[in-house]
Symmetry: C2
Subunit: 176 residues, 2 copies
DNA sequence: AACAACATGTAATATGTTACATGATTGA
DNA sequence: TCAATCATGTAACATATTACATGTTGTT
């Protein structure tokens, strides 16, 4: 079995019972800076995991809320994934890709592009630092997420510093 | 028109005539740390760009080598993309995603996971620093790529430092 | 009563990967 | 002559996004 989303869902359902809606929100909020997924991808994936016996429904709530949790087979599969399968190293960042093409734009637009990125990143940095300060990280899953959050903080900080390094160099793209 | 790869190809063909093979190699080598693409995606995309009049064949070489370059419409389209369309902010990093699930593994395997990542990143850092030192960045497109490379260097360095921050904290995931 | 948030799904389309398929040229 | 690299493509499959579709519950 492969599929990153599939295993991420399995891992989240190994922690505690959650609904598709809960999972969607986790991707929107905490997991978003590492992986993204929409509800339209999550619900069919849950159905497949259920049919494969890797998760089972363990409760229901108001509206059509369905709570799932990982079965023993599911837990075993997550551990297998984490230990036996190499994480895919593919990195995609459209903003950095566009940086390669900055020379196609006039100076003012190049600046505007990087400044907009800087603003976005600075805003996220604030947000993540606020999370680190105010949230409670006491259980093992929360401490894990604290480690991931630290990556987010360092990433955004690095990004902002990189823009500050790049901005004064944009003028050079006009020489010759 | 949308599609990141499509516009990346267009931008690369706005610089100078290139073949599908050349473009594939650029993704394998320089562009790889910002966006990835395989030849099986590139060739059909080139055909579509050609049919849309955004690129045209300007030459041929040994074997079936076909050289393309952006037309005026193609150049206009790249600039429109760079200025009018917001870059997609989706970020995907499987290694960081897995960090959220580190608590599912025994201490030694958690350590092994992060150490393997550290080694990978340190190797890339060396590689990028070597590129920065030895390559020539004199034309506007090369200077742009130097700015993107700087991101790669800072990213890998940040990653290594983050692992060094995280490793001593892994033991805490066993408490309680 | 109205609105926001909760809650789950499907359909159509777009994007991306892996495997298949073929052949030419260059250098050792 | 052999192997590596150059060179282009297609097919099947997997993953991901956008739009469509529907209904409930809690709050103001």
């Amino acid at each position: 079995m492969n599929g990153v989303l599939r295993h991420a869902l399995l891992a989240l359902l190994a922690e505690e019972p959650r609904s598709g809606y809960d999972l969607t929100q986790m991707f929107d909020r905490t997991l978003g800076h590492a992986w993204s997924a929409r509800h339209s991808q999550i619900y069919p994936e849950l159905a497949r995991l259920r049919d494969a016996g890797l998760i089972r429904q363990v409760g229901a709530g108001p509206r059509d809320r369905k709570l799932y949790e990982a079965t023993d087979e599911g837990r075993a599969e997550v551990r297998r994934w984490l230990t036996d399968e190499e994480p895919d190293q593919t990195f995609r960042n459209e903003a950095i890709l566009r940086t390669f093409f900055l020379w196609l734009l006039p100076l003012e637009e190049r600046r505007a592009f990087l400044k907009a990125e800087r603003a976005r990143r600075a805003r996220l940095l604030d947000e993540y630092e606020e999370m680190a300060k105010t949230r409670v990280f006491e259980t093992a899953p929360r401490l894990s997420s604290r480690i991931a959050l630290e990556f987010g903080i360092r990433y955004e900080r690095m990004f902002v510093e990189w823009v500050d390094w790049a901005l004064p160099r944009l003028r050079e793209l006009d020489r010759d």
